[in-house]
């Protein structure tokens, strides 16, 4: 929330609140530069071979997959790959170079193919091993090494714990489901009873600022019944599978326009064992909505400084299974977006899809550690040194050559 909105909101509550010593204006912390990073975790294992379909590969047809629906909005990317029809609304982004993909990538996790372990490793940023997982996530380690970072720099958004941002560096956690609508008088009375408790008073100030900064104000002037309904509606929002992507992105965008530089949220629904065509399309619509909402909420200036990386714990089996879906696999795709991206490309060291080329004869073979691309993004956007990236942020990653992801 910017200062003007904050004051306007305070004024709307009446002079008594604006003048109240209980209302501390948000601090204007130094920011670590202009670059913004959004990480979207696609939980469930997105099928990279369906989203960015290698329909030009000679072995593609033998996989028994339906293939890109060119009549239904799918479009060719570079002669070899086609983008899934449900992402058709992103075509302008692709044409503007604000959308790209890395293909045949995965985290260093093989063979067990568990969502639980895969997501833990993806968020921890480490390779699978017998050692216990580190307590912190890789985005938190990034914040620890970001010069000028403050408590306002990073936001974990949504109801999940998001271990990717857990760790010693302070981060903000907020979910739009916790949005508050209170009568002006309830706001004042709550502040008054919190006065005796510094920890609660400070948390309350931040909560009110966050709830007021999401576009639908904290103070609610309707009837008590309407207010209850509005608040229940906020609590229920995640049950409507079409909304979270947009709601989370709008909140992220609003923070990133202001003092935040890093935001993370997750989108669910990628575990398409059955009737994949129907389920995947719904999840992709949500991703597409979310990216467009983010672009809109950021505005052209901040969007130009932004990269988005949408990552998943593993890809899926190359062949279609017996229930018109796919099972847990290995290599997959990463979705990249943002005005800072040198997009319009599918970056890949393509392994092919023939029987010998597939990993264990069943999955797309990963040819690059997903973390290497992420490391290059952090290097380019935030100037984090290569040795810090290879030893601390992503321990053990081999960054290899620069894929040139950024403009």
């Amino acid at each position: 929330m910017d200062r003007r909105n904050f004051l306007a909101r305070s004024a709307a509550l009446g002079c008594s609140l604006a003048a109240s010593p209980l209302v501390t204006p948000v601090s204007f912390a130094a920011t670590p530069g202009d670059a913004r990073l959004v990480v979207i975790i696609l939980r469930g294992g997105m099928d990279g071979l369906d989203v960015v379909a290698p329909y030009g590969d000679p072995d593609f047809d033998a996989l028994g997959r339906p293939g890109p629906d060119m009549e239904g909005g799918a479009f060719d990317l570079d002669g070899r790959f086609a983008l899934h029809g449900a992402l058709a609304p992103l075509r302008p982004l692709w044409q503007a170079g604000d959308l790209g993909f890395a293909h045949a990538v995965s985290i260093p996790y093989r063979d067990k193919r568990s969502h639980f372990d895969g997501q833990d490793l993806l968020e921890a940023g480490v390779a699978a091993s017998d050692a216990p997982l580190p307590d912190d996530g890789w985005l938190n380690r990034l914040v620890q090494h970001l010069p000028g970072a403050s408590a306002e720099t990073a936001y974990a958004i949504g109801g999940e714990p998001l271990r990717i941002l857990s760790g010693p560096a302070p981060v903000n956690r907020w979910t739009p489901e916790a949005d508050l609508r209170l009568s002006p008088q309830a706001i004042l009375l709550t502040q008054r009873v919190m006065q005796s408790d510094p920890l609660m008073a400070a948390a309350l100030d931040s909560a009110f600022a966050l709830a007021g900064g999401d576009g639908d104000g904290l103070a609610f002037s309707g009837s008590p019944g309407d207010m209850m309904a509005a608040m229940r509606d906020d609590m229920m929002a995640p049950r409507d599978r079409h909304r979270p992507g947009r709601v989370l992105a709008e909140f992220a965008g609003a923070q990133l326009r202001d003092a935040a530089r890093i935001a993370c949220y997750s989108l669910n629904g990628w575990d398409t064992h059955k009737a994949q065509e129907r389920h995947l399309a719904l999840s992709l619509e949500q991703l597409s909505d979310s990216l467009l909402a983010l672009q809109e909420a950021l505005g052209p200036e901040a969007w130009a400084k932004t990269t988005v990386a949408a990552v998943t714990e593993f890809g899926r089996t190359a062949r279609w299974n017996g229930t018109q879906g796919t099972d847990h696999g290995t290599g997959g795709a990463m979705v990249l977006a943002g005005g800072a991206l040198r997009g319009g490309r599918v970056i890949t060291d393509w392994p092919g899809l023939g029987d010998g080329a597939l990993y264990e004869g069943r999955d797309l073979r990963p040819t690059r550690d997903l973390r290497a691309h992420l490391a290059w993004l952090l290097h380019g956007q935030f100037g984090i040194g290569r040795s810090t990236l290879e030893t601390t942020v992503f321990p053990g990653v081999d960054m290899g050559s620069d894929p040139g992801l950024l403009l």
Partner: protein, 458 residues
């Protein structure tokens, strides 16, 4: 010293308009050995019934579906698995309602609070299939019967429990020289997970006097612990490491074949260890009294532990007999379940409403407050520090509940000026009484009482 209002708030489940607080420390403690009326009135399935019914069925159906791949029978089996999982989820939410109902209706509420404490100290969760929903049956069977016994009884029950063996991978562990490991070289081997957590979390604590060698030796001693869905825990000698193991300088087992009793003996010694006494007594004090409890309080509890070989009643008594336990200043932040259940107790919410609204009234708000029901972040359980809970999001979710949910759960809201008395009694601060009376609507008045530090803290 003893204050019945504070006793209800700090050592109970909050104040109730129907149920009087125990009138002395003695009465508070006597509740722990009284017949368990709440378990009778709001039953939760025992773990072995859960296992014999749901887990056995899930395994059988899983086997059928694998044997009938790509046939109609597979579809049928998969459909049954889905139904079974749905039933398990439904039971899990019914047991959450039962747990809240116990907190709302108990005349011996310290029992409910201790159950939550120990369930968290011995965090275990299912990782796959219907085991994911086994949390309440585990607590009902391995924790609740031992609340007023010796620590070692609970430690043994928990460490050998199927859910713990499953959670911390013990059932897959084989001694490096066990018959199984020798038969399947490179496939079967030692897993240190449970042994490490027993030392690091459950007994001595992370700063305790153990080495990696002790972890390894205890891991080898624990080999053989396994379970079946039908029969529960069993000791499988083919997995057990032959010969003696040395844990903290003492030998267990030896010439004779490996036996379960050697594992029990090591756990009993760990339970009585002075460092365990200090670590676990300190945790109890942190949970019930304050994030940084007075050193004298903890040493009184530690002494009681050592004098009685870990008789938990003696340890609780030492805590409640200490003046620091009755410091009148509001102390620990309520955890999400504490907050919601104490609000329900003060509001006397009808149980059928809780059952109908279990998602929106219990599970989802608890998640927003930071407690994902029966999905703890790791074996170390929930955080104790107040600032882990009183975050902007956590507090917003508490306000959201307090201002909106009572209206949704009750036909008619009480007068906020009466409610402040019900909920806080003599501990209601002047500003909270004022706010309850000054609110424009009943819902706002109730909301501001529930939001207040006097209600949010214990």
């Amino acid at each position: 010293m003893y204050d019945p209002v504070l006793a209800d708030i700090r050592y109970g489940c909050g104040r109730s308009p129907r149920i009087a607080a125990p009138d002395s420390t003695k009465a508070l403690l006597a509740g722990l050995t009284a017949p368990d009326a709440m378990a009778r009135d709001f039953p939760i399935m025992a773990f072995d019934s859960f296992s014999k019914d749901l887990v056995v069925n899930a395994y059988t159906l899983g086997r059928i579906s694998r044997l009938t791949r790509d046939t109609e029978a597979e579809e049928l089996a998969l459909d049954q698995i889905r139904r079974l999982k749905r039933r398990a989820r439904k039971l899990q939410s019914e047991w959450l309602v039962a747990q809240v109902a116990r907190r709302m209706n108990s005349a011996t509420p310290l029992r409910e609070r201790l159950e939550s404490f120990w369930a968290d100290h011995f965090t275990a969760r299912g990782k796959a299939n219907v085991m994911i929903q086994a949390g309440s049956p585990y607590v009902e069977s391995a924790i609740r019967p031992h609340l007023a016994r010796r620590f070692e009884d609970m430690l043994i029950a928990v460490t050998t429990h199927p859910l713990m063996l499953h959670y911390l991978d013990q059932h897959a562990s084989a001694g490096p020289n066990s018959p199984q490991a020798l038969k399947y070289p490179g496939k079967k081997g030692l897993n240190e997970n449970l042994a490490r957590e027993v030392l690091e979390l459950h007994t001595l604590g992370v700063d305790g006097p153990y080495t990696q060698t002790d972890v390894r030796q205890l891991a080898e001693l624990l080999t053989g612990l396994a379970f079946t869905a039908e029969g529960g825990t069993e000791f499988r000698r083919p997995l057990a490491e032959p010969g003696a193991e040395t844990v903290l300088g003492k030998n267990y087992g030896g010439d004779r074949p490996a036996r379960l009793e050697d594992i029990h003996a090591a756990l009993r010694d760990l339970a009585r260890h002075p460092v365990t006494a200090r670590h676990v007594a300190g945790k109890l004090a942190v949970h019930f009294v304050a994030d940084t409890p007075e050193a004298e309080l903890v040493s009184a509890m530690e002494t009681a532990w050592l004098d009685t070989n870990g008789d938990l009643m003696a340890v609780y008594r030492a805590m409640l007999d200490h003046p620091a336990a009755w410091d009148p200043r509001p102390a620990n932040a309520k955890q999400p379940l504490d907050f919601i259940a104490s609000a329900c107790r003060a509001l006397d919410v009808p149980q059928d409403m809780l059952r109908k609204r279990v998602g929106i009234a219990l599970i989802q708000p608890m998640r927003l407050m930071g407690q994902v029901w029966q999905q703890p972040p790791g074996p170390d359980g929930l955080p104790e520090a107040d600032d882990a809970w009183l975050t902007p999001q956590g507090l917003a979710a508490r306000l959201q509940w307090g201002f909106a949910m009572p209206q949704a759960l009750l036909g008619a809201l009480p007068d906020p000026r009466d409610f402040v008395e019900t909920a806080l009694g003599s501990r209601a601060p002047a500003e909270v009484r004022f706010a309850a009376g000054a609110a424009e609507t009943r819902a706002d008045g109730i909301g501001v009482v529930l939001a207040s530090p006097a209600f949010q803290r214990m």
